[in-house]
Amino acid sequence: MSKVSIENVLVIIATVLQVDKSVVEADSTIDDIEEWESIKSMEIVLALEEEYEIYFSENALEEMIDVPSIMKHLNLLVDDEQN
């Protein structure tokens, strides 16, 4: 599995939200993007799980409502897998 690239993650988020790539930035949160409804957070999580073949805990899910938290949890899991 390749290292987690933020560009890749931003593209996945933008795809799920069906917005232009430029809309999602490294510090975007659920409050910044109108299309990012709470239910979309769930879809983002599922899309990331498919992409990186990982599984987030329920606790992680609750926090993953902004790009920095998403990156944090993603890196935790992907690092775990590599160790």
Binding site: V16, Q18, I39, M42, E43, L46, E58, E62
Partner: protein, 575 residues
């Protein structure tokens, strides 16, 4: 079928929607689960085959009410999750008395009749059969949830409506295991039970029927011969050396494949051969080999030669005057399959599995691509004439209209004013509610605290219960007396309770409350449009408000409190 990743599905759908210009096939989804990702997943198998679709997901847990609204759809998909019919049913059920369980079953049966009655003219309904397994799969003793699922499914079988296609989720559970099908994290956080994998399987099932209804089904099966129809290589092993006898280990597998091909031929599928062999050798096997079930008469075109397979398939399409998208090609060699995928992307290509014992089941799955609905070839542009088959013996139980249904729910709303308000929940609702929200003003707890201390403000909340459960606090209104008029600063309701006319009763309550307060005779209201609140655009005029002005995304209204009419709804009690 291995559907691509969710993000690839979204991208592929977007690209397809930009190129397909035909009218779209309208599909509605009714569910008591959150199925937001399902609309793209469901569209995928149809868009991929060039069929334009538009998908509308009904309001959460509004199956009966929305079934009326969706009666004009070309197809409706119903996902009525047993465990969520009553909140926390899997655990609550063991606390219910036997007569309460019976009452619940009777109520659901009544709802089912109403739902199918509303949808009786929809050409294709997809209904997911009830299953208790997501919540009982490790519990080996019989339990009440199993019994309810069993009874409801038996009831479905008695309903016999010809336009209903049942999807059996338990087959998916059995094939790949429950953990790949349901996701309890999502169920707990958002009432979204099913995994992407499961939804993709369901979508490909639905998609195949819809494609078939629209005449976009596969028509031609092109088969390789060596190691596809028999074990061995004719050119090397000779006619006696190839195996397809039911008495030999490998041969029995290929015998089963031949049975499947024969079944397809009987259904009208055109069977052709594309094999790298001398044509006369193949002809001899098909004419005389004692173990071969297929005969010359079953084969429409025999292109056994040394040309490339894409060339042969292309030539077949020309000869048969059919599009390449009606072709399915089966071969054991990845060289050949990849070559066809590359050269003729419209052709659906399957490769014989490496583990030969899986071949018959795989082949049966591929056969689903040739699905043919009865009567579907008569006129593809018209809907199937599966109509008026719905004959119910017990006419008494038929509801006259939706009001009767709503009446049967025994809805009670509880309206709370001012000082007893749960401000924390109220603030949360302003932040989260997007659809049924007139003004979409977001408030923090601290702001609401200030409002509630200010005598000019009134805060009103609403909670709802009915015969089968409570929704908790799910409606909020904030009113302010400003400049001699009341102003409706905020009015919102959770989607969970939409579709039962509760919003009308809520407005009645607000009006009566203001009449008692006597601060002003005028109530001003406003609709501020966002991308998500189209649902509520007509709400104020429906309640009797008069238009006063428009600007940009805002529409202003007012109503006179002393002489305005109330809704007259008598089947919702207020406590």
């Amino acid at each position: 079928m291995n559907a691509p990743k969710y993000t690839d599905i979204i991208r592929s759908n977007k690209a397809a929607r930009e190129t397909i210009k035909s009218d779209s096939f309208e599909i509605g989804i009714l569910s008591n689960l959150t199925l937001s990702s399902f609309s793209e997943i469901l569209a995928y198998p149809m868009l991929k085959e060039g069929l334009n679709v538009s998908i509308e997901i009904g309001n959460y847990d509004n199956l009966i009410q929305d079934s009326v609204r969706m009666r004009d759809k070309r197809s409706v998909v119903v996902v009525w999750e047993l465990s969520n019919i009553v909140d926390q049913l899997p655990s609550v059920i063991d606390l219910m008395l036997p007569e309460e369980v019976d009452e619940l079953i009777a109520k659901i049966q009544q709802d089912l009749e109403l739902l199918f009655h509303s949808l009786k003219d929809v050409p294709l309904i997809f209904f997911m059969r009830f299953s208790s397994l997501p919540f009982t799969s490790g519990l080996y003793e019989s339990n009440k949830l199993d019994a309810i699922a069993y009874k409801l499914n038996a009831f479905l079988d008695r309903l016999v409506q010809k336009n209903v296609i049942y999807f059996q989720p338990e087959k998916v559970y059995a094939e790949v295991g429950m953990n790949r099908c349901v996701d309890l994290r999502l169920y707990r956080s958002s009432k979204a039970l099913y995994s992407l994998y499961f939804l993709k399987e369901f979508a490909s099932f639905v998609g195949q029927y819809v494609l078939s209804l629209q005449g976009k089904t596969k028509k031609v099966l092109v088969l390789d011969c060596d190691n596809t129809l028999w074990a061995g290589v004719l050119g090397e092993d000779g006619s006696e050396g190839i195996e397809m006898s039911p008495d030999s280990l490998k041969g029995s597998i290929f015998r089963e494949i031949q049975n499947e091909v024969l079944k397809l031929w009987r259904k009208g599928v055109i069977v052709c051969l594309a094999s790298k062999n001398n044509e006369e050798d193949i002809r001899e096997v098909f004419g005389t080999h004692p173990d071969l079930l297929l005969r010359d008469e079953h084969i429409t075109l025999n292109y056994s030669n040394w040309d490339s397979k894409p060339e042969n398939i292309y030539a077949m399409a020309k000869k048969l005057n059919l599009g390449l998208d009606s072709f399915v090609f089966v071969d054991d060699s990845s060289f050949e399959t990849n070559m066809v995928i590359e050269a003729l992307p419209e052709v659906r290509v399957h490769q014989v599995p490496e583990n030969l014992e899986e071949y018959p089941n795989s082949f049966k799955k591929w056969s689903f691509g040739f699905l043919k609905l009865e009567n579907s070839d008569s006129d593809q542009s018209k809907t199937l004439q599966y109509k008026e088959q719905f004959l119910r013996e017990d006419a008494k139980r038929e509801f006259k209209d939706i009001d009767d249904y709503l009446r049967s729910l025994n809805i009670i709303v509880d309206v709370v004013f001012d000082d007893q308000i749960n401000l924390e929940r109220a603030a949360q609702m302003t932040q989260k509610t997007n659809q049924f929200n007139l003004t979409t003003r977001r408030y923090a707890y601290k702001e609401l605290e200030l409002f509630s201390a200010d005598p000019a403000y009134s805060i009103i909340t609403l909670s709802v219960k009915d015969k089968y459960g409570e929704s908790g606090i799910t409606g909020l209104a904030i009113l302010v007396l400003d400049d001699g008029n009341y102003y409706l600063d905020t009015l919102l309701m959770s989607c969970r309770i939409i579709g039962r006319n509760i919003e009308r009763v809520f407005m009645d309550q607000i009006i009566q409350y203001l009449r008692r307060k006597k601060g002003s005779n005028i109530l001003l209201g406003e609709f501020i449009a966002t991308k998500k609140n189209g649902l509520v655009e007509e709400y104020l005029p429906q309640c009797g408000f008069i238009l006063t002005g428009r600007s940009d995304n805002k529409i202003g209204y007012e109503i006179r409190l002393d002489n305005c009419a109330l809704s007259g709804i008598d089947y919702i009690a207020v406590s």
